[in-house]
């Protein structure tokens, strides 16, 4: 074994002062981040079953509010589509309304500011449309035709004082038997979508807490295993921030992967349900568009990452306060 002479040691000590520590401090910090990142990935690979059990749990927990949020967005989109394109009101005219009366009523309607267009459906046309939709040709033979004359009015807006005033005037017209207001229906749809929107945020908050606990529990087990290492680090001058860093990477990466997997689950569910939903929506002139997977993956990934990081902060600081002499 070689033994250094005191002289040599003194010389080495002098060199310390000439070390450009300031220049290297940043690179050392970056190096530690790189190492923490690599180690976190390595730990995931080293314990794939326990790590992926946590990731899948997070994914399922995040997928539910994510799915509801996506549905709420779709409902809102359909409502918006109907509101802008199909926001219509059906005016049922009294039996025996004269053609010139109907034409003058149509002309009055077309001069109203909130009316985009209007279309006349005679009882005969109505019966033909119904027979076509129900695939019963013999319907057109029904005598006398029970359907009323209908004016389909498309509105440029669904609510507001102008719309209410128009409705009052239409109802007051002796030519009008009844009206069906599509706007009210769309309003209800929008209220439903708002409810789902709010529900999804509440669920996200609640399930976000669950994610914090799930990740926290996994990290707590890991901390127990690394207790000696952390004590040693504290002894040789490791700051709590330095010791927490690997844990933060573990939590953030676990949360990120959980969030990304959640988006895959949601995308899968939406794709599976897209056909029946679209069939239904097409009947009302709308179409479901599944949110871009990349955007959803990024969004849920970031949520997972933040929750994982936050969980690691809480669990790590608490553990070190109780178990490591800082």
């Amino acid at each position: 074994m070689s033994r250094a002479s005191p002289k040599n040691l003194t010389a080495t000590k002098t060199n310390t002062k000439s070390t450009r520590r300031g220049e290297h401090a940043l690179s050392a910090w970056a190096q530690h981040h790189r190492r923490c990142f690599k180690d976190a990935l390595w730990r995931l690979l080293k314990r794939p079953i326990s790590a992926w059990a946590t990731i899948v749990t997070i994914a399922i927990v995040l997928a539910l509010p994510g799915f509801i949020m996506t549905l709420a967005t779709q409902i809102k989109q359909i409502g918006g589509m109907w509101a802008s394109e199909n926001g219509q009101m059906n005016i049922y005219l009294v039996a025996g309304a004269q053609e010139d009366q109907i034409q003058s009523f149509q002309s009055w309607l077309s001069h109203q500011s909130v009316v985009r267009d209007n279309r006349l459906i005679t009882p005969k046309q109505g019966l033909q449309e119904l027979a076509q939709r129900l695939h019963i040709d013999s319907l057109t033979d029904i005598q006398p035709n029970p359907l009323p004359t209908v004016l389909v009015v498309h509105l440029s807006q669904l609510t507001g004082e102008d719309v209410d005033s128009l409705k009052r005037q239409i109802r007051a017209n002796p030519l009008v038997d009844n009206i069906s207001e599509g706007g009210e229906w769309i309003k209800r749809l929008q209220e439903i979508s708002q409810f789902f929107d709010q529900l999804s945020w509440w669920l996200l908050g609640l399930f976000g807490l669950t994610v914090i606990f799930v990740i926290g529990n996994t990290l707590r087990l890991e901390l127990q295993e690394r207790r000696e290492e952390l004590s040693l680090m504290a002894l040789i001058g490791g700051t709590s921030r330095y010791m927490l860093r690997p844990l933060l990477y573990d939590g953030a990466i676990t949360g990120l992967l959980g969030g990304m997997l959640a988006s895959v689950i949601i995308y899968g569910l939406l794709t599976a349900l897209a056909t029946p939903i679209n069939n239904l929506a097409t009947n009302y002139g709308a179409r479901i568009t599944v949110i871009t997977p990349l955007l959803m993956t990024a969004l849920l990934g970031i949520i997972g990452l933040i929750l994982g990081w936050f969980s690691a902060q809480i669990i790590g600081r608490n553990f070190m306060k109780k178990s490591v002499k800082l």
């Binding site: 250094a4 040691l9 000590k13 070390t19 050392a28 190096q31 530690h32 290492e229 001058g237």
Partner: protein
């Protein structure tokens, strides 16, 4: 450099680990801390890097009163103190190099500095050729030398050793002690807790003797 002034440590069960202990070790001295098992040697050593705190009295390191130090200042203090344990406290899943590099990484040294310093430290303890070996591949004596290299790689001002030769044969013990002497020779303050009679008889080093938590006597004036 190390100053204890009427220091007592009473544990939660009412037992005293230390009772009214006072001494002063000037900078650059090498001192043995001795006494029977349970005499308070480890408790005293743990107070120097602020791993434990007195219930009364004052501990001053390099003129700084530890009681007045804030928590966030402890890491800086500990980087100036090297500690060698009897049971090594090495990370078994890492290589010799990584174990020795740990204090430098914690202190924020860059990769090149770490390599240079770790290799120098391993060379000093005669383990440069084994830097890639896993800890579990080393003998007890080699592990203790890794422990010493890790304690000294950061060039501390104070070196504490808790029974550093406890599990080693006399020849290895002498070897380890010689290493401590080398560092003492360049101005490092060395405090070695030991009840290794052979070691204590062989070297004429001042010693603080503890008995049941109390300072029994100090042999040789420093």
């Amino acid at each position: 450099m190390i100053e204890f002034d009427g220091v007592s440590r009473r544990f939660s069960n009412g037992h005293f680990g230390l009772q009214d202990v006072s001494f002063h070790i000037p900078e650059g001295r090498m001192v043995f801390l001795t006494g029977h098992s349970g005499s308070g040697k480890s408790t005293l050593l743990r107070m120097i890097p602020a791993l434990d705190h007195p219930t009364s009295g004052q501990v001053r390191i390099g003129g700084h009163d530890l009681q007045k130090m804030r928590h966030h200042q402890y890491p800086k203090l500990r980087r100036q103190i090297g500690v060698v344990f009897q049971d090594h406290h090495l990370l078994p899943d890492r290589r010799v190099f990584d174990n020795v590099a740990l204090p430098l990484q914690v202190s924020g040294f860059g990769g090149k500095d770490i390599r240079r310093r770790v290799e120098a430290a391993l060379d000093k303890v005669g383990l440069l050729a084994r830097q890639r070996a896993l800890i579990e591949e080393l003998s007890g004596g080699e592990q203790q030398r890794v422990n010493i290299a890790r304690a000294l790689v950061n060039r501390p001002k104070i070196l504490l050793a808790d029974e550093p030769t406890g599990n080693l044969d006399p020849e290895l013990s002498r070897d380890i002690f010689n290493q401590f002497s080398d560092f003492h020779a360049v101005g490092v303050t060395v405090l070695i807790a030991s009840h290794d009679l052979h070691l204590l008889k062989t070297y004429a080093v001042p010693r603080i003797v503890l008995n049941q938590g109390r300072l029994s006597h100090i042999e040789e004036a420093f």
